[in-house]
């Protein structure tokens, strides 16, 4: 009988606060210890010593196959997570969501990626597995995604990406290795890029920005194509276009790429139920 010397993908599970996360395609996580060499006069290097907190990072890529549980953490709440395999685990505690991205295009399932910074323990022995019920599987397709904004209802969107960046500000105190407080550093930045095949759309002259910069609300909705149930909406209120480009080639049609950016303030978040 051959010896087992690797852990296959189907033998791994990823959990967040007791919920098995569905649709995960890739995880990488780890920590980095920041050490500073102690150099002294009369000798030179002596030994390195830790200079800075112990912080870990996890990056997760997954398919968007239903309501995404990571979106519950675009706030000041922390969470734990772990990769469990062969009765072992590698996990983190006191994790905070730093970035969430979703991309979609014609003919493919939307995919999302998540960046997490962990301020608590990282490594073996942190087990977040559990039996809580995960969100229902709902796979969207290109027909159940809609982008609502002014200007291009009659143009065809070929692909888009949405990204939300949440900077964290940990506060450490003397005598403690973990932060006493981790705050969201506002504003939270939202970015969206849209590529579309245009029919009627016309890009503004850049000089118009000088006298009348435009901003409007953008809403990206993902629905269940079977029952038309709304799964998630990503709103950017008062979004401003900060990048416009047009491209054409001999074998294709005219394409326009638009980039939006928006900001969420601390007070906005309490009045808005979703982003």
């Amino acid at each position: 009988m051959p010896t087992k010397n690797a852990v296959s993908n189907y033998e791994q599970e990823f959990y967040i606060d007791g919920i098995k996360v569905p649709g995960v395609t890739n995880i990488d996580g780890g920590y980095r210890i920041s050490e500073e060499p102690i150099n002294i006069i009369g000798k030179g290097f002596t030994y390195p010593l830790r200079q800075g907190p112990l912080v870990g990072n996890f990056n997760i890529n997954k398919y968007f196959v239903g309501k995404d549980i990571f979106l519950d953490y675009i706030n000041d709440n922390s969470f734990n997570g772990s990769i469990n395999y062969d009765n072992k685990n590698f996990g983190f505690s006191d994790g905070y969501l730093d970035q969430y991205s979703i991309t979609a295009g014609i003919g493919r399932i939307p995919s999302s990626s998540v960046n997490i910074t962990a301020y608590g323990g990282i490594g073996a022995g942190v087990d977040s597995s559990g039996s809580k019920t995960p969100p229902a599987l709902e796979i969207v397709n290109q027909g159940s995604i809609s982008l609502n904004t002014d200007g291009y209802q009659s143009n065809r969107i070929s692909d888009f990406s949405y990204n939300i960046r949440i900077n964290r500000n940990p506060i450490y105190k003397i005598g403690s290795n973990t932060p006493v407080q981790v705050d969201t550093a506002f504003p939270i930045v939202q970015e969206m890029e849209v590529n579309m095949e245009i029919f009627q759309y016309e890009i503004d002259n850049i000089n118009n920005y000088i006298t009348s910069p435009k901003q409007h609300d953008v809403a990206l909705s993902l629905k269940n194509p079977i029952n038309n149930n709304l799964i998630e909406t990503f709103n950017i209120y008062n979004a401003r276009i900060n990048n416009s480009s047009i491209s054409s080639d001999a074998n294709g049609v005219l394409n326009v790429a638009l980039s939006y950016i928006g900001y969420i303030n601390r007070s906005d978040r309490f009045y808005s139920t979703n982003f």
Binding site: K43, T46, Q51
Partner: protein
């Protein structure tokens, strides 16, 4: 002599008459300062011609200068009609060819180098151009000599050290005498230290101040400043066997991860995010006049350096401050802070034979400040938090 890399420049300190220790220091500097002042007097720069000639006649006669025929002249210094005045003794030297400027762009030059001695009433000057010097112009000459300098306080050196606190070096060298090690409090020992920095030996160094800071998750470095009153000598015979780790006894460094600030909660701060400690003392050097004729080396070194006005101060930053301060009267609100320095407190450290590190001591030292709150502040900036700051100060002796 070539530039010496820092690895070959140890700092060695020793209490007077005892064995010393190589200091776990990141940087050190020695500077020597000699405060000197010039002996300026009024009208030092004014060159007034009373008369020409040997001084037998005090009447000024207008004179034509010509570089070809009448270039040189002896002049009697002073106001017209007398009395004659010598060159000022505030100058150590007036060099030959020093320019004397008169109104109208006219100029004369000293014909010889003069070291003023208080009797230089007549000097020789010459001209490079043709001009006539009237009586009024001759009273308004201007020149610049080289001033004499004299000291107005002792020659004194300063040594600044950035180092890592350890048990032994703290008690022995960086202790404003006996305050840190209060169990052996003695007003007599004034803590003279000798040592060398690389090949430069110094004597009669006295600790002036010690300070350190603590930050979360960061190692703690201290700094100390010494006054040096003794000699500074270069000696290439200083033993170079110091290039050996075994000479450095220090194996632990205080760190903010485990160090503790005690007493902050009573001042309204539960989460200290920064801490500063400073102890300083005034040093008063007593010099004695030499009993023989001339100043000698011994008279340049103080016979005693006393200490006075020792002040300990601590400041702490955190999430709040003491709101009762303004309502507690004018005699100061007492504050008691202590800082316990810990290393990283490893339970073990791998192969201890190849590393000089162990960092397993845990508590390294505790510093205290029992005084009054002298300052509080609140501050906030964009993208930051509201931070309170409290300073406590204790005066000793």
């Amino acid at each position: 002599m070539t530039f010496i890399p820092y690895e070959n420049v140890p700092l060695y300190l020793a209490p007077d008459g005892a064995n010393g220790e190589y200091i776990f220091a990141e940087s050190a500097s020695i500077s020597v300062n000699q405060p000197l002042n010039t002996n300026k007097q009024l009208n030092d720069n004014i060159f007034r011609i009373c008369a020409y000639g040997d001084g037998s006649n005090l009447t000024y006669s207008s004179r034509n200068f010509n570089p070809n025929t009448l270039s040189k002249a002896s002049v009697l210094l002073g106001p017209v009609g007398g009395p004659p005045q010598p060159l000022p003794t505030s100058y150590i030297k007036i060099e030959k060819d020093t320019k004397i400027t008169f109104p109208g762009g006219k100029a004369l030059y000293f014909d010889e180098t003069i070291i003023p001695n208080g009797h230089d009433y007549i000097v020789s000057v010459y001209a490079k151009d043709t001009f006539n010097l009237s009586e009024s112009e001759a009273q308004n000459g201007y020149f610049e000599g080289i001033y004499k300098y004299s000291s107005n306080s002792p020659i004194q050196g300063v040594m600044d050290v950035n180092f890592y606190i350890n048990h032994e070096n703290l008690q022995t060298f960086f202790n404003i005498p006996e305050l840190i090690n209060s169990s052996s409090l003695s007003p007599i020992n004034e803590g003279k230290i000798t040592g060398f920095l690389g090949e430069f030996c110094f004597h009669d160094a006295y600790l002036k101040s010690l300070s350190f800071s603590l930050s979360p998750n960061s190692l703690s470095q201290a700094s100390a400043s010494f006054d040096i009153y003794g000699k500074l000598k270069h000696s290439s015979t200083v033993n170079d066997s110091y290039f050996s780790s075994s000479l450095y006894r220090q194996q632990s460094i205080p760190h903010g991860s485990n160090s503790q600030i005690i007493g902050a909660s009573t001042l309204g701060i539960d989460h200290p995010i920064a801490f500063d400690y400073n102890i300083s003392v005034d040093r008063n050097a007593r010099f004695e006049c030499p009993v023989d004729v001339a100043v000698n080396d011994n008279s340049l070194t103080p016979t005693r350096v006393t200490k006075s006005n020792t002040v300990i101060s601590m400041s702490i930053e955190g999430e709040s401050l003491d709101t009762d301060l303004l309502s507690d009267g004018f005699n100061g609100k007492s504050g008691h802070l202590s800082a316990s320095l810990y290393d990283l407190n490893y339970s073990s450290f791998g192969d201890s034979t190849t590393f000089s590190e162990n960092n397993t001591n845990g508590l390294m030292h505790t510093f205290e400040c029992k005084g009054v709150i002298t300052n509080q502040s609140l501050s906030v900036d964009a993208e930051g938090h509201l931070v309170g700051s409290i300073s406590v100060q204790q005066t000793v002796n």
